[in-house]
């Protein structure tokens, strides 16, 4: 059951910056083909923040890595689908063409700031190398650009920091430097793979605020990969919930948080501790994410689902993503009128209203 592109709706909408369609990724392993990403469709519009949420191993990082084609091949291979960036299919690019996209059009920041910087080079060297490469400037000029981008991410005394080594800095600073590095070439899309997971809460807030400010200034799109719903609620415009290789629900952040439709999403929300509510135990989703080598037949969530009630449909037919209400896609047989809903590609141009007074200007 593949969706057929609806050309009429595409004409109405502005072009998405990045459009992933039916992406299928497989890994050749000793125990056969494992498919960590199946039929993932996702659109990201300029200036938008799209959050991809899910537990460890649900395929969110693989999706992100496959956009930049960073997955080692073999063992990984693309089984189908397309990743269109500004109209061009990145999957058809040669390695040399990809090198021009990486860092310049699409930049990425990683989860672990402590190990993402090369210990043998100074900060300035590392940022300048990519700048020299992509912006075709001299080393001296690249260092000035590096200095400016360090200033942009709120690092004091950037001129001196350029000459320092990564080990001389704290985790929060290193993540700022990673962001500065990613931003130094003014990418149109920033993929942030759990950018705050390794940081403590106060630094986390600073980093996310920084990303929001830079997004407002430059209008770049952000693909935010996280498992933290609090981060999603504060930063995302559109949310895609992934479970066991598929997107199970996607909607605007307000819609998703107000009306979660998929039992998995609902379970996720129930397992957030709430302020002011006393309960003996925090509610959890029973069971664990199924092993990608042995996904259950039918709905992949049925082994842990509280809505199934022995429905044979759930154990036999896998529900695919449908537009269950305008602007809200979900994949569950038990969502109202699921069978009658149209199968359309998720395309949400939504941008949240930002309370501009809440966030100050970036320090110059």
């Amino acid at each position: 059951m593949r969706w057929i592109p609806n050309f009429e709706s595409e004409i109405e909408l502005p072009d998405p910056l990045l459009q992933i369609e039916n992406l299928d990724i497989g890994f050749e392993t000793a125990r056969g083909l494992v498919r960590p990403v199946r039929e993932v469709s996702l659109s990201i519009y300029p200036g938008q923040t799209v959050a991809v949420v899910g537990e460890s191993g649900c395929g969110k990082s693989v999706t992100a890595m496959s956009i930049l084609r960073l997955l080692p091949s073999p063992p990984s291979k693309v089984l189908g689908g397309s990743i269109r960036f500004a109209g061009q299919d990145l999957l058809r690019y040669t390695e040399r063409q990809m090198q021009a996209v990486r860092g310049r059009d699409i930049a990425m920041i990683f989860q672990e700031p402590m190990t993402s910087l090369n210990p043998v080079y100074t900060i300035g060297d590392q940022i300048a190398e990519a700048v020299v490469l992509h912006q075709k400037v001299g080393y001296r000029e690249a260092l000035q650009i590096a200095e400016q981008s360090l200033r942009d991410v709120g690092i004091a005394d950037p001129h001196r920091r350029l000459r320092e080594y990564p080990h001389e800095m704290s985790g929060g600073m290193r993540q700022r430097i990673m962001i500065a590095m990613a931003l130094s070439c003014k990418p149109k899309l920033l993929i942030a793979d759990e950018p705050t997971t390794a940081l403590d809460v106060t630094i986390q807030a600073q980093i996310l605020e920084l990303l929001r400010k830079i997004q407002r200034q430059t209008g770049m799109a952000i693909m935010l990969i996280t498992h933290d719903l609090g981060v999603v609620a504060e930063n995302a415009d559109v949310v895609a919930v992934m479970y066991a290789s598929r997107i199970v629900e996607t909607a605007t952040v307000e819609e998703l948080f107000d009306h979660p439709k998929h039992p998995y999403t609902q379970g996720l929300f129930r397992s957030i501790p709430k302020i002011g509510v006393t309960s003996k135990r925090l509610e959890t989703i029973p069971g664990t994410v199924p092993n990608p080598t042995r996904f259950p037949v039918g709905c992949k969530f049925h082994t842990r689902c509280d809505k199934m009630n022995g429905d044979p449909l759930c154990t036999t037919v896998e529900p695919l993503l449908r537009e269950v209400s305008p602007g809200h896609w979900a994949s569950c047989h038990h969502v109202e009128k699921f069978a009658d809903s149209p199968v359309t590609p998720p395309q949400l141009e939504h941008k949240r209203e930002t309370d501009l007074s809440a966030v100050g200007e970036v320090k110059a």
């Binding site: 930049l68 960073l70 073999p74 990809m98 090198q99 021009a100 996209v101 990486r102 860092g103 310049r104 930049a107 990425m108 990683f110 989860q111 672990e112 190990t115 993402s116 910087l117 090369n118 210990p119 043998v120 080079y121 190398e129 990519a130 490469l133 992509h134 709120g154 690092i155 004091a156 005394d157 001196r160 080594y165 080990h167 001389e168 704290s170 929060g172 600073m173 700022r176 990673m178 590095m181 990613a182 070439c185 403590d200 106060t202 630094i203 600073q206």
Partner: protein, 410 residues
């Protein structure tokens, strides 16, 4: 907690920088400090420094020609007259290296490049400019002295060249080799050459063999090992078979065969090249293991993700982080190469006759004379032993410094 919340991202006072614990230096620098912090490594380095200095200044330490001589009332420098382009290059390059060393502002890479560049330029210039006389007539100044024309002469501390045979200096009833005496502190060899001078001039061969053959093997090892480690899969499979093939070649017998098969091509540089070409397998294994480990590191992924070309990812981002274990194998490799050359020379298959080598002196200890000449065994043996030991001590110290289990917590 409240303090944490308001802490600016940064404390940048110079005082704060000085308080950094010792472990937070760049990694290679830390390894280096850990290495030279060990007494054994210090001993090794001191010995190698002595050998290097002796090798560089060999013609000024042991030379049959006077440094300054007054002949028929005119001052001249016979030593400088006979100096070779290699001597001048060595001295000039080491002078530049020593002069550059104290400058902290100059980066390590810049230092290395400028030293290598000046070495090339100086060697070309000296080859063009300096033409020492082909024939070295060692007896000339001795004859002049006998005739009384040599009014004043200042000699090097050891007034004998390594290939000065001193044929006419002793009578037939007192033949060479002679045991150590006041004239010849380490005796003479069967040809009548001074052993101490021989030892001093042989330092060059030993150092050159060690460094050149190890550089060749490192170069091959890094390239092949790097490609194996980075690409893994079939490249690795193929490379490892190549490593096994070369690893199964007995270097010693290959060298003996080569020398036996091509006696006309016998040259020390050929021997260095063969040692290098055969012994890269260890380096390749080290580099492969490091690259396999490093290629999945976050900073390598980040380098790829920022669009850097493969060349930069491999050699700028992975290689410097893989260098430290290579240093261990390099220092053992130098020791091995020195030993190999000495063995070859001992067997009479090494460097061409007439050039100075420690192994060649050893041959003479049990040579044609019949009886054992202890001074021809002890001194060169000691030189080989100490040099190989020094390199092994340094290699050992680097290995210990690299081992996190052995590193002191501070």
């Amino acid at each position: 907690m409240s303090e944490m919340a308001v802490t600016p991202i940064e404390k940048s006072s110079p005082e704060a920088r000085d308080e950094l614990p010792a472990t937070s230096r760049p990694w290679l620098e830390q390894i280096w400090l850990d290495t030279i912090g060990r007494a054994t490594a210090k001993l090794g380095l001191v010995w190698i420094a002595i050998i290097t200095a002796v090798a560089v200044f060999a013609p000024f330490i042991a030379n049959s020609f006077p440094i300054l001589a007054k002949i028929d009332g005119r001052w001249s420098s016979p030593l400088l007259h006979y100096i070779t382009p290699a001597d001048v290059t060595l001295i000039a390059v080491s002078a530049i290296a020593l002069a550059l060393w104290p400058f902290k502002r100059v980066g390590f890479r810049v230092k290395c490049l400028s030293i290598a560049g000046s070495a090339v330029i100086i060697s070309i210039v000296t080859l063009i400019v300096i033409h020492p006389p082909k024939a070295e007539v060692f007896d000339r100044y001795r004859t002049l002295a006998k005739e009384g024309r040599l009014e004043k002469a200042i000699y090097a501390p050891i007034p004998y060249s390594a290939n000065d045979r001193l044929r006419d200096q002793f009578k037939v009833d007192n033949p060479h080799p002679r045991a150590p005496s006041r004239e010849h502190l380490a005796g003479t060899n069967p040809n009548g050459a001074d052993v101490l001078s021989h030892l001093i001039h042989a330092c060059r061969i030993a150092m050159a063999v060690g460094f050149i053959s190890t550089s060749i093997s490192m170069l091959i090892g890094v390239i092949i090992g790097g490609l194996m480690g980075y690409y893994a899969s079939w490249v690795d499979l193929l490379g490892m078979r190549l490593v096994e093939i070369f690893g199964s070649m007995p270097t010693m017998f290959l060298l003996i065969m080569f020398v036996a098969a091509f006696p006309d091509y016998r040259s020390i540089y050929l021997i260095m090249a063969i040692i290098g070409v055969v012994s890269w397998t260890g380096d390749a294994r080290f580099v492969r293991a490091e690259f396999l480990k490093l290629r999945h590191q976050d900073f390598v992924q980040a380098a790829i993700a920022s669009g850097l070309p493969l060349r930069s990812v491999l050699f700028r981002h992975i290689l410097p982080n893989a260098l430290a274990p290579l240093l261990v194998s390099a220092s053992f490799g130098i020791a091995g190469a020195i030993l190999l050359e000495s063995t070859l020379s001992f067997l009479g298959l090494g460097i061409p006759l007439g050039e100075a080598s420690w192994g060649q002196l050893l041959t003479d200890a049990v040579g044609s004379g019949g009886s054992f000449k202890w001074w021809l065994a002890i001194y060169p043996g000691l030189a080989i032993f100490l040099t190989v030991l020094a390199y092994n001590l340094i290699g050992e110290a680097i290995r210990d410094a690299l081992d996190p289990k052995l590193r002191k917590r501070d």
